[in-house]
């Protein structure tokens, strides 16, 4: 299951400049809106699901080396956030679904 597959199947909207998504294989997932929890729990290569969309998610994503942040419930990051994410090579993806459903779908797709 590649990041490209997840984007297709969950109909995620990439906010940041697309990368070679078909070559990225998520190593698992983590969900929390508390940044310190994500910092402790997200492993490199995971997808991180959160409804936070402010600039500090970029630093957390970069430091934990997650392969993508799925921003749930239709939250829209500001242009400055997207710019910073592009600068740090962080992928931000959006969905209207709430976190609970995103995680359920990810699990069904084999992201454990």
């Amino acid at each position: 299951m590649t990041l490209e597959d997840l984007i297709q199947k969950l109909e995620l909207t990439p906010f940041t400049t697309p990368k070679d998504f078909p070559a990225i294989h998520p190593t698992g997932g983590y969900a929390s809106d508390l940044l310190s929890c994500a910092m402790a729990g997200a492993k490199p290569g995971n997808v991180w699901v959160t409804l936070q969309s402010h600039v500090n998610i970029v630093a957390v994503a970069a430091l934990t080396e997650v392969c993508g942040v799925i921003i749930s419930e239709g939250a829209q990051p500001e242009a400055a956030v997207i710019e910073k994410a592009n600068g740090q090579g962080v992928t931000l993806l959006g969905t209207k679904l709430p976190t609970y459903q995103v995680v359920g779908k990810l699990w069904e797709l084999g992201i454990h």
């Binding site: 400049t17 402010h54 500090n56 430091l63 740090q88």
Partner: protein, 339 residues
């Protein structure tokens, strides 16, 4: 036909994701004129298909622009020749088989324009024209791949040189105790720049030759300490990182307000963050807990009304240590003996 994006990606799948996005960036930065082939072989509508086949074979090229009276009138490709062979029509003229749908790109356009046209029109080559529509070159996907790889290699070399120089820092300097100190002033309430110092530190460690695991560990510890200064202090504070061959020492100090009960602050889940800060996802009460998990030693000292000092230390395993100058080893061992 796979999308150009994945096609670009496949060329350099070994590279890390950051370089993939650099490829995207380069496709906007690189001009078509920088990657195109300049000495374009052309032909005329009256040439024989058999002669074109010979030109393509000898030149090892896959197509030619067709020019008449200095004007581009078509393109003839290997595919057109194959069609002619299938129809047993190799004695025909170029004008009978050439494609007259002329799609060109401008020399001053970015490479991404050519990529868009390749996928839109499904052609293998595009004649390049100048502002007066005169033919000045031809560009293929191969030319673009080469151009991007060359540019990436240049980037890569710059980073390699930096990394090489930095990773020999401790080896190149002979002293009894060498350390590198980095200092950052962190402003209270500066959420926008939160995490900046930690990413700089992480990058510095990688350049010095630290393992990604070690750089990550330090990055996380420093991030939490940095955010504590931003969230909880009255006037911000100072973040000081001291890198030595055998250990990394990280310290923050601030001027208040101080922590009334240090033991309580060290409990997982305890937080004094305001609702506003919690809404941004901070204030989980996990910061110090995370730090402790990442470092070998953590000391927290605080006096209400005066300020807080946080010390974090990571001792490097023998295989993680930064290489030192051999002379400095002998210096210190001589010292040891004389004592």
């Amino acid at each position: 036909m796979p999308s150009l994006q994945s096609k670009q990606g496949r060329v350099i799948t070994d590279q890390d994701a950051r370089e993939i996005s650099r490829v995207e960036e380069l496709s906007y930065d690189l001009k078509i004129s920088e990657t195109m082939t300049r000495d374009v072989k052309t032909t005329s509508p009256g040439a024989h298909m058999a002669a074109i086949l010979e030109t393509l074979r000898i030149g090892r090229i896959s197509g030619l622009p067709v020019v008449m009276n200095d004007r581009l009138v078509g393109v003839i490709s290997l595919e057109d020749i194959i069609q002619a062979i299938l129809k047993n029509d190799l004695t025909a003229l170029v004008q009978d088989h050439m494609s007259t749908r002329i799609i060109t790109v401008k020399a001053y356009d970015p490479v991404v324009k050519a990529l868009e046209k390749f996928s839109e029109y499904r052609v293998g080559r595009l004649p390049v024209v100048d502002e007066n529509d005169h033919l000045v070159g031809i560009i293929t996907k191969g030319d673009i791949t080469r151009g991007i790889l060359t540019a990436l290699q240049k980037d890569y070399k710059v980073e390699e040189v930096r990394r090489y120089r930095a990773s020999h820092l401790f080896e190149d300097i002979t002293s009894e105790r060498t350390s590198l100190i980095m200092r950052y002033n962190i402003k209270a309430g500066d959420y926008v720049n939160g995490g900046q110092a930690s990413s700089h530190i992480k990058r510095a460690l990688l350049r010095l030759g630290a393992s990604p695991q070690l750089a990550r560990q330090c990055g996380i510890a420093v991030y939490e300490a940095e955010m504590n200064l931003i969230i909880h202090t009255d006037h911000g504070g100072v973040l000081r990182i001291q890198i030595e061959p055998q250990r990394i020492l990280m310290q923050t100090s601030d001027t208040g307000p101080g922590i009334p009960d240090v033991n309580l602050a060290l409990q997982a889940g305890w937080s004094t963050a305001t609702q506003e800060v919690r809404d941004m996802g901070f204030g989980a009460g996990m910061g110090l807990v995370n730090i402790r998990r990442c470092v070998d030693r953590m000391e927290l000292e605080s006096t209400p009304g005066k300020g807080t000092k946080l010390l974090m230390e990571i001792m490097l395993r023998p295989d993680e240590r930064f290489k030192e100058s051999e002379q400095s080893d002998s210096l210190s061992s001589t010292n040891g003996e004389s004592k």
